[in-house]
């Protein structure tokens, strides 16, 4: 095997192998585990870097492995997959550092980090999937790898949450599987091809294709938390903070959204999907989700639940972008894949810091927390503003392209109001938090202060990840037009999809 055929596999193995080894490490071998984790993360980033360099220089990377006649496991590095891969590898590194700090003293760390690595491996595999078949495989693997993470604490609530998570995701996976097989039965293959593979089919198949689209989107929509398939997301909030970060920003939710992008662009082809009329349906579903999630978030006092509903809302921006015909909307959707990830992970890191440092779980307990934990709160603020879409944080760029794309596609009539309403609602649930954190006087005692303020407001391993990701979120917006920025990347992808 040369590098062209092995590199995508190696990218997966770089987290898979350390994960497998970690399973067997005794609980006490903290240093070895940390070394393995970080080594894996850095190796992955290095390999992804090589991939990116190669792909931008016209090199083609593909690992192909036949699983059954006509069914190949294909790992293929194209620009879209690399975008997601780089997002997850970078965020994985950050999250790993964070998780090491977060779980410093808690039990079963080997198990945790083992599944953690599996989870990322599945995500990377999903990102690199070269056909829908491979995608489905990693999609299900992701479900499996996250279950133990959600259930990690072992409390009845955790297990209940995990069960609900599983009920939703496995049902979704089944729908996705049926849709995929159906598609396979019609087309005989499920490869991701820029511009789609279905437009050549005669019109007698169109009804079937619409049904298949519904199945696929319903299946992906569970992970992407499209209303009404979102019910698992708030329940899965029982998981430890790094897991929530992973679920919401890097892996699970993103996988669903990424899948929607793949299906629309590389299976159906956005033009063909638009002709079928399914894009509009997708867009409306996304719009409803965006508003619904925001409204629900308004009424949550639990910080993590508020963030969870925020995710419900935000991830559908991606679907919305996908539903907008035209390169600009596409850019908006794809770039939000990255932007939402870094912003949301910041928020979850910060929420985790509040919980871990001061025992704060509720918004109503956050009075004056900005003074006690300025770094964390600053990071939180930047991310929250980004979520609202305030420039120059990354979220604005996404919103901008979505809006512009909608205008271009003649959908401004309802997309813009949705965006506006959602931003208003986002402001409605984020800004009060910021107000409390920065302007209210703190309570005399924090709910449960574990970590006293010393040199930093909390452990370094907890403090730096949100700051790094907040800086990333800011940078992604500020330098959006710079080369190699997510936006540039998304533009390249969109150009390819539209054959520009």
């Amino acid at each position: 095997m040369n590098s062209a055929t092995s590199l995508p596999l190696l990218v997966i193995l770089s987290s898979l192998l350390p994960g497998l080894v970690i399973f067997f490490l005794p609980e006490g071998s903290h240093r070895l585990r940390t070394t393995l984790n970080l080594a894996g993360a850095f190796v992955k980033i290095f390999l992804v870097g090589v991939l990116i360099w190669g792909v931008f220089h016209g090199q083609s990377y593909e690992t192909r492995w036949a699983l059954a006649p006509g069914l190949d496991l294909v790992l293929h590095a194209d620009k879209l997959s690399l975008l997601f891969v780089s997002l997850s590898s970078v965020l994985w590194l950050v999250t790993t550092i964070y998780a090491i700090g977060y779980l410093e003293t808690s039990p079963h760390r080997s198990r945790f980090f083992g599944f953690f690595s599996l989870c990322v491996s599945a995500t990377v595999g999903l990102a690199l999937a070269g056909n829908l078949f491979t995608f489905v495989i990693f999609y299900e693997l992701l479900t499996l790898a996250t279950y133990p993470l959600v259930a990690h604490r072992g409390t009845p609530e955790a297990i209940r949450g995990a069960r609900i998570y599983l009920t939703y995701t496995l049902s979704g996976g089944m729908l996705l599987l049926i849709g995929t097989v159906w598609l396979y039965a019609i087309v005989g293959q499920t490869s991701f091809v820029e511009g789609g593979v279905l437009s050549g089919l005669s019109s007698e198949y169109h009804t079937q294709l619409i049904l298949i689209f519904a199945l696929l989107i319903a299946g992906l929509g569970v992970k992407a938390a499209l209303v009404p398939l979102h019910g698992w997301l708030p329940e899965a909030m029982v998981a430890p903070a790094p897991v929530s970060a992973l679920l919401h920003a890097v892996a699970v939710v993103k996988a669903g959204a990424f899948g929607i992008v793949r299906v629309v662009y590389d299976v159906y082809g956005v033009t063909f999907a638009s002709e079928l009329g399914v894009l509009m349906a997708l867009g409306i579903a996304a719009g409803i989700t965006i508003v619904y999630g925001s409204v629900k978030a308004l009424f949550q006092d639990s910080l993590k639940k508020r963030l969870a509903y925020s995710t419900v809302s935000q991830v559908s921006y991606i679907a919305l972008g996908t539903a907008i015909l035209g390169p600009i909307g596409t850019i908006g959707g794809i770039v939000h894949l990255v932007h939402q990830g870094i912003m949301k992970i910041t928020l979850f890191f910060a929420a985790g810091n509040y919980a871990e440092t001061l025992g704060i779980h509720k918004v109503s307990e956050m009075n004056g927390v900005g003074r006690r934990m300025p770094g964390t709160t600053l990071a939180f603020s930047i991310a929250a503003l980004g979520m609202i879409g305030i420039p120059p944080v990354a979220g604005f760029i996404s919103k901008w392209y979505l809006g512009l794309g909608a205008v271009e596609a003649g959908m401004a009539g309802w997309v813009l109001p949705v965006l506006i309403l959602s931003s208003l609602l986002n402001a409605g649930y984020f800004l009060p938090i910021l107000y409390r954190a920065w302007f209210r006087t703190p309570a005399a005692v924090w709910p449960d202060e574990h970590i006293p303020a010393a040199r930093f407001e909390t452990h370094g391993a907890l403090l730096w990840p949100p700051i790094i990701t907040a800086v990333l979120a800011l940078a992604a917006g500020l330098f959006a037009a710079a080369p190699y920025s997510p936006l540039e990347w998304a533009s390249l992808i969109a150009q390819r999809e539209y054959g520009l």
């Binding site: 006509g70 495989i137 299900e140 072992g154 049926i178 396979y184 039965a185």
Partner: protein
Amino acid sequence: MTDALIALVALPLTAALLALLLPRIATALVIFSGLAITASAIALLYGVNTAGALHYELGGWTAGLGIALRADGLSAILLLMIALVMFAASVYASAYFGKASERAQFWPLWLLLWTALNALLLSGDLFNLYVTLELLGLSAVALAALSGKHAAVQAALRYLLVGLLGSMLFLVGVALLYAGYATLDLATLTQVVKPGPIAWSALTLMTLGLLLKTALFPLHFWLPPAHGSAPAPVSAVLSALVVKAAFYLVLRLWLDVFADIVTPTAANLLGVLGAGAVLWGSWQALRAERLKLLAAYSTVAQLGYLFLFFPLLLALPPGPARDVATGGLVMLALTHGFAKAGLFLAIGIVQQRSGHDNIQELGGMVQRLPLTTFAIALAGVALIGLPPSGTFLGKWQLISAAIATGQWLWVAVTAIGSLLAAAYIFRILGHAFGNQPYPHQAVAVAREEWPALLLTLTATLVLGLAGAHVWTLLENGS
């Protein structure tokens, strides 16, 4: 190459005798012969893959007068599965049965069961099949009753009666066929059999007998108690291999010998029963309160999937499409074999360590028995049909064929069944992940844990990732 055919029967039978005569070294003997049998199975598979279907005329008499052993891709693959599962279960059993006296009773019967399985898969003769069925049935019953507990004996007795009834009907079919076509050789029969009352009746009777033995819904009633009360390695083999042997025969009869006789309607009937098995078995597994019963009902359900293939295969024209679907069926059977065996072995560990297998009281298991829990989870992955297990590939073909032939009902059944499977598997894992203190001293023995783990790994990883070879083998070995 044909030596492997003989070896596969003679080796376990010889080992059974030796184990009977030399109980002190029986364990070593079993392990040694297990290796040899596995090697033979691999050799056979290799031979079939390179030279196509093999046959061996015993005693040098032409088939018809004498008995021929036959192996094609299908039987060779299944034989290797049998060898691997039996070998793993043997290693497990060597630790599971603590007392020497227990082992002394166990090993000869165990090897006889192995003989029966191999002989059944290799047999090319109708009456010989009957004898192997009986050998299989009796050895399985004897093993199932081994614990001597009331429930086990009762279940075994019922198992025996059911098995005898099934064999009897099979034998009537054999008699009818002999009356009609004056041959017992399957290959000959395949060529001469014609539609007509004899063929219909014979196929009906033989199928009926085999359905009872393979515990197809609604004839599954005997299976859960029998599989649920046998010692763990025995349950593993009963669920993974024994019922599948009967299924293999149904498959052979319907797709090879009576290929010209079977009708879509009849295949649909089997499909409907399969669907019933999937739904009812899964539902019952979900409601089971003991791990072993859960696993047993899961077997009922999983066998149902295999029967779903009948209407699909018949609807597909012979050729590549049907071959691909058949590969899916084999894949399902293989994965279930490995996964279910591993599951039962793992459950056995739980049962031994905690003294019970009540699902409600598994809290904390994941901490104390991590590898065992992991094995259960892996088996679960395969039973649900999640990737990268072979079941996933199998179900893919199942759904694919159903969609291609427009038989949407089976798609729905598969989907619901899979979700129910997920529900019952994660019901276990949910309890296992609980953070309650685990009240039992649980130190798992590697000789028990590793077979379970390796079997389930085979089901989830090896078969899933190397699945393409199954299709190649079936094609080369036809």
